[in-house]
Symmetry: C2
Subunit: 310 residues, 2 copies
């Protein structure tokens, strides 16, 4: 019995995970902005799940939207501020059981590679499209680690040198996160609404914020302008996939996160652009939607917890 | 005693390498364009060096400008055509000794990481700037391999989605090879000469082709237009370094190849752009010139040969 915790920029999802990777009880809460409160929130959600468990918890796995080294120390977070905090040691002391901390994108990559869309492949790259873009890579059976011992920040490869500023704390411009994330889609939607004040986007904007979800809804209902906004995001995603393929040559790209719910509206242009641009020995990867949906992070955290040293 | 062979797009360099990584005898020849003639040329240059050796050759290492899998089979070459050829098996049969075949950029990366500018680091990325851009990565002590078992094609990450077509056989546009290689510098020089028919570049162009070497010579002599062409290439190189740093977080970037001879004219803008754009935990790598110069490929091939299974 383990607990998996997935800390996102806006919400925390956690579950008690039993044998056979079954999610037994789930809990959710919003992410406190401040680091002390965030650690308390993770402690509380894990403790509550432990109390629900019929037997003692063997370990807790935690995915955070940060670069984390193998010792569980946060090197840098794009959307939450835990810089310099050793989250593993902090939580181990509070929870009294082994804790493993990884980047949330790595957790999703681990889950998809073990149980999800990449389970039949040795090498996969998983990208999660949400407010930002995260991800991880399993290459020849092992999680890709950088020189600092943390996972890759796959959303922060530049595809348009003079593109718009990257959202969050990334200092660059034109990263794939700036071109194909939910934030990028919302930005394009605002521009489209401004240029067509009587169009469906502008009308939707009068009832609430023009989020990527609104664009997705209109696109799925057949609005051509919204379809094109998603296709543009997909093409930029494909440009990034081509570069990542030339460097890592996975057999499959798994696309998850909230924005992947629009499916082929983003995946088809991404796949086309990737195939057109990758060098031949790296152009054959499949580009598929994630299989585990919103549970990928929690399941990956639980998988990592099972590997925790006692 | 081993032989190291470095096959480039235009020339083959090879050397007999003795204890302590000493180059004892070197040979050079131009690269035949056709694959059968190329295999014969590699066989001949290695055999001649073996005849010069005071003792039998233990193994031959060969670097080729191609994606090569761990079995020595070429998956794809950008500048030479050996696609589908198992270069290791072909040469082993002809030479009668163990042969190791790797990508030329990986050879240079291995040499710089073991004997050169990255010898004091565990994680390094080496890029060779020549007609194209190649390279390799040693992360946490091991050569980075992709899912297909070959090394990364570091020159083929897109930095400008709608940039000019990539030279060679890459189907993409705006790869760093298209923006910062010798070919890219020559293209910018031709454009500059056309726009200023009485300038130093246009005058130089009347005496021969406007190669990157001509631009480098004029820039080193203080020509502002040529300095700017190199600085532009350097800035695009820095954009690529930022993306590679965010994914692989090496401790040092080693820049080699013919174009690195201009030193800070390219390195300074590359370093600035990289530092400005990389996320904080990946922004601290040094960006230095390669230490082994033109010998890196041959030395890397010799190092790989020493690891050859008998």
């Amino acid at each position: 019995m383990v607990v998996g915790v997935d800390v996102g920029g806006t919400k925390i999802a956690a579950a008690l995970v039993g044998p056979g990777h079954r999610l037994l009880t789930s809990r959710r809460m919003s992410t406190p902005p401040e680091s002390d409160a965030l650690l308390v929130a993770i402690e509380n959600i894990a403790s509550e799940l432990a109390r629900d468990s019929p037997e003692p918890i063997a370990a807790v796995g935690v995915g955070v939207p940060c670069v984390v080294d193998r010792a569980g120390r946060v090197l840098w977070g794009n959307h939450v501020d835990l810089d310099g905090v050793n989250v593993r040691d902090e939580l181990r002391a509070r929870l009294g059981c082994p804790v493993v901390v990884l980047n949330d994108g790595e957790m999703a990559a681990l889950a998809e590679a073990t149980l999800g869309a990449a389970r039949d492949y040795e090498s996969s790259v998983t990208l999660t499209l949400g407010t930002g873009i995260g991800g991880g890579a399993v290459i020849r059976g092992g999680l890709l680690l950088g020189g600092h011992g943390g996972g890759p920040e796959l959303g922060h490869v530049v595809v348009e040198a003079d593109g718009p500023p990257c959202p969050g704390r990334c200092p660059s411009r034109g990263c794939v996160e700036a071109m194909a994330s939910g934030t990028a889609v919302a930005r394009e939607a605002a521009a489209a609404a401004a240029s067509d004040p009587d169009g469906p986007l502008a009308r939707a904007g009068r009832h609430g914020p023009l989020t990527a979800d609104v664009v997705a809804e209109l696109a799925l209902a057949g609005d051509a302008r919204c379809e094109e906004i998603l296709a543009r995001a997909g093409r930029y995603l494909g440009v990034a996939l081509a570069g990542l393929a030339n460097v890592l040559s996975p057999e499959v790209f798994v696309i998850g996160g909230g924005m992947s719910a629009v499916g082929e509206l983003i995946l088809a242009p991404a796949r086309d652009e990737y195939r057109r641009r990758a060098i031949p020995p790296a152009a054959g990867a499949s580009v598929v939607r994630a299989a585990l949906g919103a549970d990928a992070g929690v399941l990956g955290a639980a998988l990592a917890a099972r590997e925790a040293p006692a």
